[in-house]
Assembly symmetry: C2
Homo-oligomer: 356 residues x 2
């Protein structure tokens, strides 16, 4: 794959200009660009600029409302129900997690749920908003794509249904887990097709729900992604159960559709739901000692003798931070095929092109 | 394996008599027996009567205090820190989840953490206490055994670190996920040794942290269990991350040790921690509609075309309920080897033997 590389600031600015050209108010375009660029900076390439073509398709068929503003529809001292009004999920997501964190600061715990929302980028961004306030964070969202059968099933009923958890540790090195509840993301399977490579056992099911190592089974022939665990023997019913719980928290509490519902994500608006929880460790223990304990735990993992001396043990959050440090120096790479698509969208939207 | 089968009531009564003989107050012995027998009834055989030899060993070396009573050490309108005083975890666990559920009924959300506790049986029992009140439940606990390396590591730093989630659906058929964050439980690996069978790929690592299919590597030769995912390619870093989060919630918030700490679970008391969360869906949506939505979602899973017509798709909680229905009729089977061990413990403790 040939790539074109641009400095972070320029990459972010290009995103901002496209979103502004779609009619987003300046602060909303700015924050959405920030969140998308955060994903690209941290190597979560599936959740940054690569989403622009999908967002544009939703926008053009009216399923997302670029001018929408989040509002609180219902509130208690520990909770907020946020209505995103059919907009993209980034601004309402950040709004909701900031609200949950503020509630946690006053009440000890805060939970916010967003309804009538769309894709919000990477879960981890929002988890980090809580963690940077010294709080434990938890974020989940429903997904628009339905590509995953329940364990033992031969039809798609679930999305990649991601879940993220975080906790403060040493400054700048929090614990930050952000995971799809599938074994592999669809993008990784598609890359195998492009590179004419087999998929590892446990990633892919064919259209009859049988194990396969041919990535074309899922990319081209109606097959499926597996739940984390990969097979019944590998305990994929655990990944399947986690995915259901994600949909219950993020979709069910928001009153939005389940991925198994007819017409899921194909209504007037995309119609996703998000879930955000923030918890102040100070209601149980000394917050400084708590963060020091998480740091000690994380450092014990990092110090574990590695199987391969060239691959030191890492803690959730470490790989993404290493990528971000590198990309801040070297710029953010974007495949030239994707870049051409984004440029065509920018041109059609009347957004200036600043990526060179 | 030869088994001896007894009616549920008799099985539960035997457990109660042993616990009472250890000095537990009658209500505590009764509730602990109830929770252990619930696990056996539901087929969670690793967490019921099979724990008696471990509990007895802890008791004899003074690491558990049979006469301990839980007390609330710290409280807010949304939280309670419960001190178990070094007792077994069942009574403080049920106390803590009932407290969290009561807080959720008044405040919308309740979180309880138990410190200075020991093994509490199966997580799912406590999750169900919340679910039966119409609440979403979440339960996690630290574990005493340390058998799991972080992904890419060649030394044990984590436990099986279980996590449970539940939500109300149709009466008697809630969503109830209760999972170790490892691929397979140690008991299932030990069974493979006993039956002279290989372990499926992804269950076992040898003492150098390399993939193995020989269950003796973990049972006899210093090897390890894998995190859910089974291998780096299978995304075991997700199961590893979930295990860390379990320890952060259940151990870190309780101020107890992490499994990577020197002397973990080998102090004056066993020194585990538990985490319980209850959330009232009514703070976001209509509670009846919420439960109906979870039921619709679950039934869509059950109605999914199965890969193998002989294996219909199930929802987390279904397999355990099917086992419980069968065992209520047919009795609870216990391996004769285990039963002889339990009988010797009963005799040494001065507990009457009622299992025939």
């Amino acid at each position: 794959m040939t790539v074109s590389t641009a400095p972070y600031a320029q990459h972010r600015e290009q995103l901002r200009r496209i979103l502004a050209a779609w009619g987003m108010a300046p602060p909303a375009a700015d924050e959405t660009a920030e969140i998308l660029a955060w994903a690209d900076l941290h190597g979560i390439d599936s959740h940054g600029i690569s989403m622009i073509p999908s967002y544009d398709a939703w926008r053009r068929n009216g399923q997302i409302v670029p001018t929408a503003k989040p509002r609180i529809a219902r509130e208690t001292p520990v909770s907020a129900l946020v209505d995103a009004g059919g907009g993209l999920g980034h601004v309402p997501g950040a709004f909701a997690m900031r609200k949950a964190a503020a509630l946690a600061k006053t009440s000890g715990i805060g939970v916010a749920v967003v309804r009538d929302t769309a894709h919000f980028g990477a879960c981890g961004y929002y988890t980090l908003l809580a963690v940077e306030e010294g709080l434990i964070g938890m974020v989940a969202t429903t997904a628009s794509g339905v590509r995953v059968p329940p364990t033992g099933g031969a039809a798609a009923r679930l999305g990649t249904d991601p879940w993220s958890f975080g906790a403060p540790a040493e400054p700048g090195r929090p614990f930050l887990l952000d995971m799809a509840t599938t074994t592999a993301a669809f993008g990784r399977v598609r890359n195998r097709v492009n590179e004419h490579l087999a998929a590892p056992p446990g990633w892919v099911l064919d259209a009859a729900g049988r194990p396969s190592t041919d990535p074309r089974d899922v990319a081209e022939r109606g097959g499926f992604l597996t739940s984390l665990g990969g097979s019944r023997e590998g305990a994929s019913y655990k990944g399947y159960g986690l995915a259901m719980m994600v949909d219950i928290l993020a979709g069910g509490l928001a009153g939005m559709s389940y991925p198994s519902d007819e017409g899921h994500a194909r209504g007037e608006h995309v119609g996703l739901g998000h879930f955000f929880l923030a918890l102040d460790p100070a209601i149980f223990t000394d917050a400084t000692e708590f963060a020091a304990g998480v740091a000690r735990f994380a450092n014990a993992m990092r110090a574990t003798k590695p199987v391969d001396p060239a691959l030191p043990v890492m803690v959730p959050g470490d790989p993404e931070r290493a990528t971000a440090a590198r990309r801040r120096e070297q710029g953010i790479p974007v495949g030239t095929g994707l870049l051409a698509q984004v440029r065509a969208i920018a041109d059609a939207s009347g957004a200036p092109w600043v990526l060179g």
